[in-house]
């Protein structure tokens, strides 16, 4: 204690001497003051800007909830859209169309995506893998409207009719990169020892991959598929000239098909108030579905985490 007191009094003496001798110490003090002020100002503006940027989220969610909740009742889910001027009606055809198109896209993209994911993790450093990775990045950046053009040129024009199937092809291509990346990342986490143990027991390579490696990384793959579904569920641009929309119930995948996103677009840009109301209801349903899917995807990723 005595020692500390000594040091303190020494320091005070030194400081006082400094203060008497020259003013630079005080200037320096001011300098520190300004540096602290800048620091606080910067931090405040960072917090301010960050909070401002999520305000639109609450505005959108609030507005959609407020407008959409009045449109939703039992009829909304089970009835077909009514013609202009007739009150009521529902969006059952759009809901079924959306799920059918998502189902078809998943059926097309999951096997291809998981297969590519396996390839990329098994042949990590091969030249082919390098090129495939590059192509997948490019595929992920392709604007959604271009996918619509492609599906139109590949399917709609040769068949001569808009169809839910062509829409599913466009959306399937958008889902692919998501599934590929998630599968690859998950498979990379599986330790070599697992594979080696299986091989040393005499299990052939293909069975090791399909029966040992894949099952232990199933959660990552499911997460990838769910994120992919959440990404395509609200896509509209690729469906404009593929699935096209349809006011009637249609279960034939080779005929024009309605989807929630198409219905929202068509109704939102129409001049009828009653259609706007239905579009808000459909928006609420779509947002809840997309957010719920993302939530489940996060849950799956956390609960059945790949850990070794």
């Amino acid at each position: 204690m005595g020692y500390q007191k000594d040091v303190k009094s020494l320091m005070e003496k030194e400081i006082n001497k400094n203060l008497e001798n020259n003013q630079s110490f005080i200037v320096n003090d001011k300098h520190i003051f300004f540096r602290k002020i800048y620091n606080i100002l910067f931090k405040t503006s960072i917090i301010l800007f960050s909070i401002i940027s999520i305000i639109p989220l609450f505005l959108i969610l609030f507005y959609v909830l407020q407008k959409g909740i009045t449109a939703i009742d039992w009829d909304f889910f089970v009835k077909l859209p009514k013609p202009v001027g007739v009150e009521g009606g529902g969006i059952s055809n759009a809901i079924i169309g959306t799920f059918l198109i998502i189902l078809m896209s998943s059926l097309m993209s999951v096997p291809l995506g998981v297969g590519t994911g396996i390839f990329l993790s098994e042949y990590q450093n091969s030249k082919l893998a390098y090129v495939v990775r590059l192509f997948v990045e490019v595929l992920q950046g392709v604007p959604s409207i271009v996918m619509g053009i492609i599906a139109y040129l590949w399917v709609v024009r040769p068949m001569g009719i808009f169809s839910g199937f062509s829409g599913a092809i466009a959306l399937g291509m958008m889902m692919l990169p998501v599934i590929i990346k998630n599968t690859e990342e998950t498979l990379k986490l599986i330790p070599h020892s697992l594979k080696e143990a299986s091989m040393s027991l005499g299990v052939p390579y293909y069975k090791t991959i399909l029966k040992v490696v894949l099952p232990s990384s199933i959660s990552g793959i499911v997460t990838g598929v769910l994120i992919g579904i959440a990404r395509i569920a609200g896509e509209t641009a690729p469906l404009l000239f593929t699935a096209f929309g349809n006011p009637f119930m249609n279960l034939n995948i080779f005929k024009p098909m309605n989807s929630l996103s198409l219905l929202i677009f068509n109704y939102a840009t129409s001049p009828y108030q009653d259609w706007h109301r239905i579009a808000w209801g459909a928006s609420l349903f779509l947002i809840v579905f997309v957010l719920f899917t993302n939530l489940v995807a996060n849950g799956v990723a956390k609960k059945w985490k790949v850990e070794f």
Partner: protein, 288 residues
């Protein structure tokens, strides 16, 4: 042993299918835009007259419209996405405030584009119209500025997440060295983090620009769909993506269709180039 060989062949086949898929996409677009490339040539990009009925196809208004909306959106969004990245990677790494911002941004990126458009049409457009009345410009409501504002909201989550990833790569010992010399947080950011991740941040912003270039639905709904060269940032216009969305299903004769496909080809080439270059820049920073 035999089934192993088959399995390996199948894996390679699948990989080749992915390569073929993207190549086919490019080839299809190119082949289908040939009629327009042949008959219009360079005139397609410099003529300002778009009148399909008279057979005039000049895409300059859409090129200009696309560039203005995307760059404006990028400029509006940059301070916000940078702030979010700094907020999450430097100031609040965990805690309640951090998870509010983080999940808020995640939710923002999950909202479908068509719903952004719908909301923009009914909420943002009237607000902008009032603003235009105060500024004494023609009160369209819809137009380039509205579209850019909506686009900015949409690309913030995307660029913020990339910039955050890049900022995470700054070595902790560099930052700690600066702190130990008595630097404040602001000075560490200004003197260490930003200079170190400068190229990565630029790449992230360019990726966000690529996202904005191809965004279709929200823009189509609020840009006003005018096929003329825009006169001000409040004027209605059209982007490449929105003209395709509006007119593709009406395009009957082959030149009309093929000129729209050519716009699609331009979109995919630009976005592919942006993707490849920025990913390369980001990868290079992460290796140093």
């Amino acid at each position: 042993m035999k089934s192993d060989t088959v399995f390996k062949y199948v894996l390679h086949l699948i990989a080749v299918i992915i390569l073929a898929l993207l190549s086919l996409i490019f080839i299809t677009l190119f082949v289908n835009s040939l009629p327009s490339i042949k008959s219009l040539g360079l005139k397609f990009f410099i003529s300002t007259r778009w009148n399909p009925v008279k057979g005039e196809f000049g895409a300059l208004p859409f090129l200009v419209g696309t560039l203005i909306t995307s760059f404006l959106a990028l400029i509006i969004s940059t301070p916000f996405s940078l702030s979010i990245a700094v907020f999450l990677s430097e100031y609040f790494k965990r805690g309640a405030l951090s998870s509010v911002i983080r999940s808020g941004v995640e939710l923002l990126s999950g909202i479908p584009s068509v719903i952004y458009g719908f909301w923009g049409l009914f909420v943002l457009v009237p607000v902008i119209r009032n603003l235009e009345l105060k500024l004494h410009v023609p009160p369209y409501g819809v137009g380039i500025f509205t579209a850019s504002l909506l686009l900015a909201i949409m690309i913030i989550p995307y660029s913020a997440s990339i910039i955050r990833e890049v900022m995470k790569l700054v070595p902790a010992d560099l930052k700690e060295a600066a702190y130990s010399l008595g630097a404040t947080r602001f000075e560490v950011l200004k003197g260490v983090v930003i200079p170190y991740s400068k190229s990565g941040i630029t790449a992230g912003l360019i990726l966000a620009l690529g996202r904005a270039l191809g965004e279709t639905m929200a823009v189509t709904m609020v840009i006003g769909n005018a096929n003329v060269l825009p006169t001000s940032i409040f004027a209605p216009s059209n982007t490449m993506a929105s003209i395709i969305a509006n007119e593709f299903s009406e395009a009957v004769d082959s030149i009309y269709l093929s000129s729209l496909v050519e716009l699609g080809l331009l979109l995919i080439v630009v976005s592919a180039a942006i993707n490849i270059i920025s990913r390369w820049v980001i990868k290079r920073t992460s290796k140093v």
